[in-house]
């Protein structure tokens, strides 16, 4: 609903109202996410404002990432949800679509972004990306080439994996 409200307004919004509507939207998203109470993904505002969140993704069962936990960060722009948040892996993640700095190549975070996506869908997309990489547009070519050999991939993955501190 807030998406519709925002769309009907002009694009020349003042920063104050923009940040108020972003805050409201993120507040709602947080509430939805907490109500849903899903296992395997988590996210929460990091610090005093709602524009920066930290989160974790647990590798889906039945994949090489099974049981591994990765930390991510999300930065929301002032015109969210009309622009995608900037999402990075904070822990090293050996993955064809993730580079060593934590940048992620995922279409819905780039050109395919739409205002109907939210934190929860982003987290779920990232979780499924772990098990189903897009090897046609790799950021980590070595990992993309190794993907065929899951056992070798797992070995390489575990060399770089550090479980997040509690």
């Amino acid at each position: 609903m807030s998406a519709m409200n925002g769309a009907s307004r002009s694009s020349g919004m003042e920063t104050a109202t923009a940040s108020a509507s972003v805050t409201k939207r993120l507040q709602n998203e947080l509430m939805q996410l907490m109500m849903a109470g899903m296992d395997g993904i988590s996210a929460f505002p990091d610090g005093d404002n709602l524009l920066k969140w930290a989160g974790t993704i647990t590798g889906p069962a039945g994949t090489v990432y099974s049981g591994l936990v990765f930390k991510i960060s999300m930065l929301f722009p002032a015109n969210y949800p009309y622009s995608a948040p900037a999402v990075y892996f904070e822990s090293t993640c050996y993955h064809p679509n993730v580079d060593l700095q934590g940048n992620i190549c995922l279409d819905i975070l780039k050109e395919q972004w739409s205002a109907v996506y939210n934190v929860q869908t982003i987290l779920l997309s990232l979780q499924s990306l772990l098990g189903e990489p897009n090897n046609d547009s790799p950021l980590n070519t070595e990992a993309a080439e190794l993907w065929e050999n899951q056992e070798a991939f797992r070995v390489q993955l575990m060399k770089t994996y550090k479980p997040p501190a509690l």
Binding site: Q27, M31, M34, M35, G37, A43, P45, L50, W53, V116
Partner: protein, 571 residues
């Protein structure tokens, strides 16, 4: 000689005042008393040569009489006139509680009292006497909260008239406010009053008053006309805030019984929800009007939730007409109200097996809803909030009743077969036996069913006509009423407990997410994070101590561990 005459005069005045001023509050009596004084007492005093006497003389009393000339004129009054005022005043004060009860038909008495109140010592007398009377007659467990509130509002208006700066009021009102704060149903009663259209006096004030901002400007005397400035009365303590007191009308005095307005906003929300859910034709005009008035007073932002509720009903109306177009005639007609879950009080769906037709109608409606919303949202039915209009055709009569879906479902089972055993029926409906028993009792009360042997119910196709039976029927009807109320109470309790559980679950989800995403944290940080980010309808308003209790419980349940003052999730 003078002494005796003076005493006679004093007694006569006393008697006169008592007879003319007692019990009648509509008309001012003081001027009548004074006329009597001038026409009867003064001539008599002249005959008795009292007018030169000590007691009488204006000259000896002139200083005194001038300073307290209660009539506000510059003339020096004879002391005897002052005595009349004094006597009137004491009488009114002792009857002030009754005077207030009569409000607004007590203006005469109030005018008199206001005139006389300038006599020395009267203000403190008034506070003392009225406080005592209120304590004794009003602040008793047997008094209805609504009555206390009515008297409180009248008291506010009367005392405001007597003493516009509101000092007297502040003194007398304090114990009433303290008392009301201790009563559980006070918020509900106030909210009911404010939403009750028949309380037109309050409604008027509601629209007249300005928006109350919490902690609004303390700009003491700025706005007021400097020419008409009057100092605070001498009994105004330094603690009382002038600005607030001068501007407080009945409503803000009501609201200010509590320190925050949030309790009212919550009460409004609950009552709004109840009222809107009771509407069967989607017509919310009355509620919209009421909400607009409340918004004038409480500000737009705090009532946004109610706004959403009303909008939900408007949307539901549209959805209902869409449904009427899309769904075939063969379906049971249903009129859904779609609630935005986050903005309404929590309702726990009561689960039981709805009749197939109804369940199918629900599914169809859900399908239409999903196509309308693009598949992102779906309906979660809350059968206990609905109502059903059913017509029962029995052997010798037809009955038209409006009942809850659960009641309707129960009786519809008797279409399939005439006799049901309670356990069997409970299994068929997947309903709790104790709830089922209550619903069956409702129908036996109406004479539709009959319990032939314990736990076995049969439809009663024909009513037996004999008088004795009629009587027992009546008694059963009464039992049914009681039972039905029971039903509600229990259901309420059940859902309140469920709501608490739901809330704790939500807290836990927040804490779990926070600790997973951000790592372990000390208590005060968890507390500040929850206070900061748990906003909106489920605002976090627990103290750190309450939170610690909850966290410790989680530690005992082996979900958390406390290491070096930091809580962390147990793996």
């Amino acid at each position: 000689m003078f002494q005796v005459a003076a005493e006679v005069a004093a007694q006569a005045i006393e008697v006169r005042v008592r007879s003319s001023c007692s019990g009648v509050f509509e008309q001012p009596k003081l001027s009548l008393c004074r006329a009597w004084l001038d026409n009867v007492v003064l001539p008599w005093a002249q005959i008795m040569h009292l007018d030169h006497g000590e007691w009488w003389a204006t000259q000896s009393a002139s200083v005194h009489a001038l300073t307290c000339n209660p009539l506000g004129t510059q003339e020096t009054l004879p002391r005897v006139t002052v005595a009349v005022c004094h006597s009137t005043c004491l009488r009114s004060i002792s009857e002030l509680f009754n005077i207030i009860v009569e409000y607004p038909h007590c203006m005469g008495a109030l005018v008199d009292l206001k005139t006389c109140l300038k006599l020395p010592g009267m203000r403190s007398q008034l506070v003392e006497s009225l406080t005592a009377a209120t304590q004794e007659r009003l602040l008793q467990p047997s008094a209805d909260t609504a009555d206390i509130l009515t008297q409180y509002v009248s008291m506010i208006r009367c005392l405001r008239f007597l003493d516009p700066p509101g000092v007297l009021l502040e003194h007398v009102a304090a114990p009433v406010r303290d008392y009301l704060r201790g009563r559980e149903d006070t918020t509900r009663c106030i909210a009911e009053d404010l939403m009750n259209e028949s309380r037109s006096d309050l409604i008027e004030e509601l629209t007249a008053g300005e928006v109350m901002e919490e902690g609004a400007s303390d700009s003491e005397d700025e706005d007021r006309d400097p020419d008409n400035w009057e100092p605070d009365p001498i009994d105004a303590g330094p603690k009382l805030n002038t600005w607030k007191r001068r501007n407080a009308d009945a409503i803000s005095m009501l609201i200010s019984i509590y320190r925050t307005r949030d309790v009212f906003i919550k009460a409004f929300q609950t009552m709004f929800a109840d009222r809107l859910l009771a509407i069967t034709d989607y017509d919310t005009d009355k509620e919209v009007r009421n909400l607009e008035m409340l918004k004038l007073r409480f500000g737009e932002a705090s009532l946004q939730t109610c706004e959403v509720m009303i909008k939900d009903l408007a949307n539901s109306k549209r959805f209902d007409s869409l449904l009427a177009e899309k769904l075939s005639e063969t379906n049971i007609p249903i009129h859904p109200v779609v609630l935005s879950r986050l903005y309404w009080p929590e309702f726990q769906p009561e689960s039981f097996q709805l009749p197939d037709d109804v369940a199918r109608a629900h599914e169809d409606a859900d399908a239409v809803f999903q196509t309308q919303k693009g598949g992102n949202q779906r309906l979660n039915w809350l059968p206990q909030l609905g109502s059903v209009q059913i017509e029962l055709e029995l052997g010798d009569r037809t009955l038209d009743v409006n009942v809850s879906p659960a009641h309707a479902t129960v009786i519809m089972k008797f279409q399939e077969q005439d006799t049901w055993e309670i356990g069997e029926l409970a299994r068929a409906l997947e309903m709790k036996p104790e709830m089922l028993r209550r619903r069956l009792t409702y129908w036996t009360g109406l004479g539709v069913l009959k319990e032939t042997k314990p736990g076995c119910f049969v439809t009663q196709e024909t009513l037996e006509e004999d008088a004795a039976h009629g009587k027992s029927n009546k008694r059963q009807g009464y039992a049914m009423l009681v039972d039905d109320m029971d039903d509600h109470d229990n259901a309420d309790e059940g859902s309140a407990a469920d709501q608490r559980a739901e809330q704790l679950r939500l807290y836990w989800n927040f804490i779990k997410n926070m600790l997973t995403s951000l790592g372990s944290m000390p208590l005060d940080r968890i507390h500040s994070m929850l206070s900061m980010f748990m906003q909106g309808p489920v605002r976090f308003e627990r103290s750190p101590a309450e939170l610690r209790e909850f966290l410790d419980l989680m530690v005992r349940e082996d979900k958390l561990e406390l290491v070096g003052g930091m809580y962390r999730l147990k793996q």
